[in-house]
Structure formats: structure tokens, C-alpha cells
Symmetry: C2
Subunit: 260 residues, 2 copies
């Protein structure tokens, strides 16, 4: 079958991208399924391989398909996990060896793992602003990359003013089962309120490397700042979440109405 | 000056992208400033124009620069406006001719405008799920594109079950100064709680057209569902926010602690 329309105003590679995109959005090509081969598309659209590749590249940059050489192209899966910032104030999990995220994922039947490292650095400028400290002062950065079933899932970097946490467990690059915020509370810095800021952008090169991202894969950046009852910011967490794997969820009640 | 490193493992277009990216991230090339011309980059990197264009295309897809032909390439500005879902429950604005968003933007010295259209349609599947209705039932879609200083800013589409709002002002494609949610309250469907779901993805073709987006520009999708005291979902809003222009902000207080 030949689909070429000689007097069409759109270039052929765009027609090809439009045709495949429509099938992906309608579900005719379902998540995880393989696209027709480049050879088949050359025949269907009566065109050269370079044009077919150009059309496929459009869909790769739109995040709709991924190349898996040498097998071909696949419709990208968007299996979204909920991230619930409000859940940090629920009681801590029961298992003493696992932190909350590890426990939640295990309950879902997945195999979670994480790599933790600790650095003492000058803070990134946005972190310094939120912690209300000089850019030249020191912070402890607890950096985590989390994996599910061995695939990178998200980055979770938390920054604490060094003066507040020096000598504590927070400097140890290992899991803290009761949670690092509980350690802050024990040090006299209980967090009683927080702000959550959420942005979307393309990943930076170090995020591409840490999360093993391909093109067309934006990230959600979730910046959480925790404050004490004295309005002192004591912690800034920067979560970098792969867009095709996460939804951030909040629940709220109208002031004056019964709580959830 | 020639920067070419003959035995470098990276292709030259990537070296060029790396070099310019580092200057953008450090601020040496500031937001809004013009990049060196293609001709200058050809000389600096001692390479052909095609290689320079390949390197620049990498940064365009990363959202760091935008082409503005025929003048050249510019460092993209990220001027972020805060979106505060919780503010919908503050008292309505004082100006009777303007809705809240228009009033807020005017206060900031900007020139806001919006285009409103109303359709009666079968709901998108994600909206049907959230409104807990059959995909074949009808909804009223109030669609808005909002502009600031004549540039597209965001999409704000709200879906209501048709049975709930038929015959009301919500079907009129014009601004409702007291807010559509107030109309719902008058109809007996006051919303007392809501969920906010936030995702990041590349825009779909109709979003690219409505928001006039270029490559490397992901969107934040904010899906808000409002419920009555009987737990009936009566409204689903889908906000599509240009990633380089918006931050979604929440503020929360630890349960049992004094409110803000």
C-alpha cells in the first residue's frame, strides 16, 4: 500500500510521524509493542530509509517511542508510580531495616535498591536560597539514586546545613531506617511545615547519566524545603523524577471542612 | 583559537555542545543573550557548518537555547511563575469583571488575556476515570488558553458532567467573574476537597500548536479533581503548563501543628 500524497503540504517524514503517533495515541500500537521495521515503513510510505529515520526521530524526541537496537523501535511505556509528599508525616514504617520508600516498593512486589553517597560541599544556589545560607557556607549532601528491578527510578538528594548535622548519623552514607528527619528532630530541629515546588524540564547531562535517560524524556524536579516551628529552614530535598515513571499527588481539604 | 582535540573520544559536535552548555549553566552566557554565530563557531572549533548545527541542535532539544531565525540562537529564559493550587480556596478577588488569574497577573504589571471556548463532548479517558462516569456519557469542556503580553502561557481545560451543569452559566464561553466553582456551589455541588496530580511529559501536537512550543520544551500536566462532601467528583481540570514558565507550589503543615 502506498500512502504518499503527491500534493500534500507536509513533508513525508512528518506524515509518517503523524500516522504512527495517531496509532500510539489511539492505542492501536500499545505500550511496549514493536513498531513496523524501517524496511516495512520504507515500503508503506514509498520512501527512502533516511526519511523513515527522520520521522522516527521526531517520535523519539516526543518521548513516544524508544530505539532498542538492533531489534527496532518500541512504544514507550508510561507506568506511573505515585509520589506522595504528604506521606512523610505518616507514622514511620514498621520494618526496622528498611526506609519508607524501600518498604512501599517491596509491598508492591518490586525489587527496590538504592545507592547512597554523602558529600560535604558548598550548596547549589537554589538550595542556598531555600536554606537561607551563604553560598560559601557548607552543607551535607546525602545523594541517592533509587532503582527498581535494577533500572534507575529517581534521584533523591537532600541538603542540610553542615553546622546543624555535624557528627550525626546523617553523615553516614547508609540507610537510616527511622528516617533522616527523625534524626533532625532528635537534634532539636523538628520540621513542622514544608513547601513543595514542582517543575518540568529536560534533564541536565549529569542527570542523564545517573538516570540513564534517552531523548524525549523530561524530568519532574520536586524541591522540598522543611521548616522548624521557628521558621528556620533545616533541610532541602531535590527529587529528580523520570517523567514517564512518576506522578506527584497531593490531597487537600477546603479550610473549615472536616479533614480527610 | 582552535579547540579541536584530535584524540578526544567525543565527537566534535558533542564537544561543542558541552562547551556551550557549560557556559550557559555557569551563567557566562546569560538568559536571553545571543550565542556566537554559526560562522564564529565554525572558526572556533575548526569545523564545518553542519557539525556546528548538529551541536546546536543538541542544545535546542535540551531546552537550553532557541533558534530565532534569521538572527541566530539565544539562551532560553526560564522566568518561572508560581502556580498555587491551594489559592483557589482563598476569598474570590475584589474586581467583579476579572477572574482570579487575570487579577493576579494584572497586579504583577503584566497584560493577561484568555480565549475561552465551550464544547459538549465525550470525555477523554483519564477525565472519565476521575469523574467516575462512563466514557460514552457527556461532559461540558470549558477550554482556555491563557496569554501574557500576547504570548501563550498555559492551557486550562475544565470538564464537568453535563447532567450537573446543563442550563447554567458554565456553558457560556465567557469569563465567570465569581468563578465556575462558585456556580457549582450554587447548583448544590460545593467542592470540599481536591486531589492534584502532576506529571511531566513532552507536549502532544495539539498542545504544541495551542502553546506555540518549540523543541526541548516539556510541559507540566496538572490534573485537579474536586469532590463534594458526599465524595462525588464534580469537576476535573487539566492544566498544561509550559515547563520553562511555571512552578507548582504547595505549602503544608504537619498534622497536629499550628496551621500557617
Amino acid at each position: 500500500m502506498t500512502r504518499r500524497v503527491a500534493d500534500s503540504p507536509k513533508p513525508l517524514y512528518q506524515q509518517l510521524a503523524d500516522s504512527l503517533r495517531a496509532k500510539i495515541i489511539s492505542g492501536e500500537l500499545s505500550p511496549g509493542s514493536q513498531l513496523p521495521t524501517e524496511k516495512d515503513l520504507c515500503e508503506e510510505f514509498a520512501t527512502a530509509r533516511q526519511t523513515v529515520r527522520h520521522g522516527l526521530a521526531v517520535l523519539v524526541n516526543e518521548g513516544l517511542i524508544s530505539p532498542a537496537r538492533p531489534r527496532g523501535y518500541f512504544v514507550r511505556r508510561h507506568e506511573l508510580s505515585y509520589v506522595r509528599p504528604q506521606s512523610e508525616w505518616r507514622p514511620q514504617p514498621s520494618s526496622p531495616e528498611m526506609d519508607r520508600w524501600m518498604e512501599e516498593q517491596t509491598t508492591l512486589g518490586r525489587e527496590p535498591s538504592q545507592r547512597i553517597s554523602v558529600e560535604i560541599i558548598q550548596p547549589p544556589s537554589k538550595v542556598a536560597e531555600r536554606l537561607n545560607i551563604q553560598p560559601t557556607s557548607l552543607v551535607v549532601a546525602r545523594r541517592r539514586v533509587r532503582y527498581i528491578d535494577s533500572e534507575p527510578f529517581n534521584i533523591n538528594d537532600t541538603f542540610y546545613p553542615y553546622e546543624l548535622v555535624k557528627g550525626s548519623e546523617i553523615l553516614n552514607p547508609a540507610d537510616i531506617a527511622r528516617g533522616a528527619s527523625q534524626v533532625l528532630t532528635e537534634l532539636g530541629y523538628e520540621q513542622v511545615r514544608a513547601t513543595d515546588e514542582i517543575e518540568a524540564r529536560m534533564p541536565l547531562p549529569d542527570e542523564v547519566a545517573r538516570l540513564e535517560l534517552g531523548p524525549g524524556n523530561p524530568v519532574l524536579v520536586h524541591r522540598l524545603t522543611g521548616y522548624t516551628a521557628n521558621d528556620e529552614p533545616v533541610r532541602c530535598t531535590v527529587n529528580v523524577l523520570i517523567g514517564s515513571k512518576h506522578v506527584v499527588l497531593f490531597e487537600r481539604v477546603k479550610p473549615g471542612k472536616a479533614s480527610l
